[in-house]
């Protein structure tokens, strides 16, 4: 017994070394971001404390370009309002004419505005931290967009903060299509440039041109159909002859994220329960 204790004391630093390396390897091997621990991520209490402080200061630096973006967006919205107003006037006349009721379109999507408090673009796996959480009714698997296009998908949620898997993360694949065309592919980041991503598995017969807009397909409940994602830049060479791969330049400027909108779908539980039921029936 005494020998054992002596042995342990003498080689204690080796034991500590082995234990610490094992702990880090276990943490490192949990590769899937859905299994990460909340407290070991930037949405945990320690991470948010530090980043909240710095974002208070950093928020002022990007104001000019955000302002320009907003003004551009404002101008386009104003033009749209005028156009829609004209259209409503026209419809109102038509409705009056044959006394028909307009059916309100279903509006399943709500937006929650959030501020980005931490963001990375240079790592192989990038994440974003936002200052809204469970108490602001944010749940995992909600989509995140900004004024230009898709940003990512919510992953870990604490009471006041949430971590978002950025589009610049190869664990996140987004179902997209070329605007004006129903064939869809899957958009994934290739780890090289924060302005570009690849649209893979696009059927061979798809017709597209360089400069076409890529939009979300709406095949998941996370993003509505038609949110802009990027612009076709070039065709990539692929090994598989049945599919195209396109290089897409992203519309969202990830190096200058500030305010984002989280999309919450009122009917997501309904859609999920249907999908779960049908999966169970299949088995």
């Amino acid at each position: 017994m005494r020998n054992l204790i002596d042995f342990i004391v003498r080689y204690s630093s080796w034991f500590v070394f082995v234990i610490l390396v094992t702990i880090s390897l276990v943490l490192l091997c949990e590769h899937n971001p859905w299994h990460h621990h909340l407290y070991l991520s930037s949405a945990g209490r320690i991470g948010t404390g530090v980043y909240e402080l710095s974002s208070e200061i950093n928020g002022y630096f990007g104001l000019k370009s955000i302002n320009a973006d907003l003004q551009r967006r404002n101008a386009s919205l104003e033009a749209e309002v005028i156009r829609l107003r004209n259209e409503i006037d026209r419809y109102a006349e038509a409705v009056y004419a044959d006394t028909m009721k307009l059916i309100e379109p279903l509006q399943p999507y709500d937006f929650i505005i959030a501020k980005v408090i931490n963001n990375s673009i240079s790592r192989p796996y990038n994440y974003i931290t936002i200052d809204r959480g469970e108490l602001d009714s944010i749940r995992p698997e909600m989509g995140v967009v900004d004024q230009n296009g898709v940003v990512g998908i919510v992953n870990l949620v604490s009471p006041h903060y949430a971590r978002v898997i950025s589009l610049l993360n190869p664990n996140f694949r987004l179902s997209c299509k070329v605007k004006g065309n129903d064939a869809f592919g899957s958009l994934v980041w290739d780890g090289k440039n924060h302005n570009e991503a690849l649209l893979e598995e696009l059927p061979r017969h798809t017709i597209y041109n360089v400069g076409d807009t890529i939009i979300t397909s709406g095949y998941s409940a996370v993003f509505p159909e038609g949110i802009p994602v990027g612009i076709v830049k070039a065709t990539e060479r692929t090994i598989d002859d049945n599919f195209f791969t396109l290089r897409v330049s992203l519309l969202t400027d990830f190096s200058r994220l500030s305010n984002v909108r989280v999309i919450s779908n009122k009917y997501i539980d309904e859609i999920k329960s249907i999908e779960d039921n049908s999966n169970e029936n299949d088995e």
């Binding site: 880090s24 949990e30 320690i46 710095s54 192989p124």
Partner: protein, 169 residues
Amino acid sequence: MSKTILFFASLFILLTIAQALVFNQICLFGVALPLVFIYFIIKMPMSWPTTVCLILAFLLGLSIDILSNTQGLNALCCTLLASCRRPILRLYFPREEEMSEPEPSSKSIGLAEYLKYSFTLTFLYCILFFVIESLTFFDFFRLIIKIIASTILSYLFILALDSLSRRKQ
């Protein structure tokens, strides 16, 4: 003694926060990432027990991991680096008991030895960090560029930090 502990405690906190808020945001040409927090591991006194050094290095890596969403990566690299510290110092300065003060510095082991010692540790850390990180997208050429560029940038920052703290003393 308590002065040393106070100095290293504040160094730990300052380096962690500075790495998260300043150095992680710097990424020159998309390849050079300054990893400055390892200055703490370079400076830990040789008189401290190895166990304490290992645990402190692990905690440092873990706090950097928390702030930069790299679960376990820096904790592993820091622990490995702390275990290689003594052998590397012996490589350049074999007579450890002749050090005039327990912390490795240009004063205690000589300028040339200190520069070599800190460069070796920085280079080793960059190799460990980028090799483990790039196990997913393996691109050999890019990996080499990243290691070299980050070593140079981190080393410059560490030397700058070193000259600052020396002036203070």
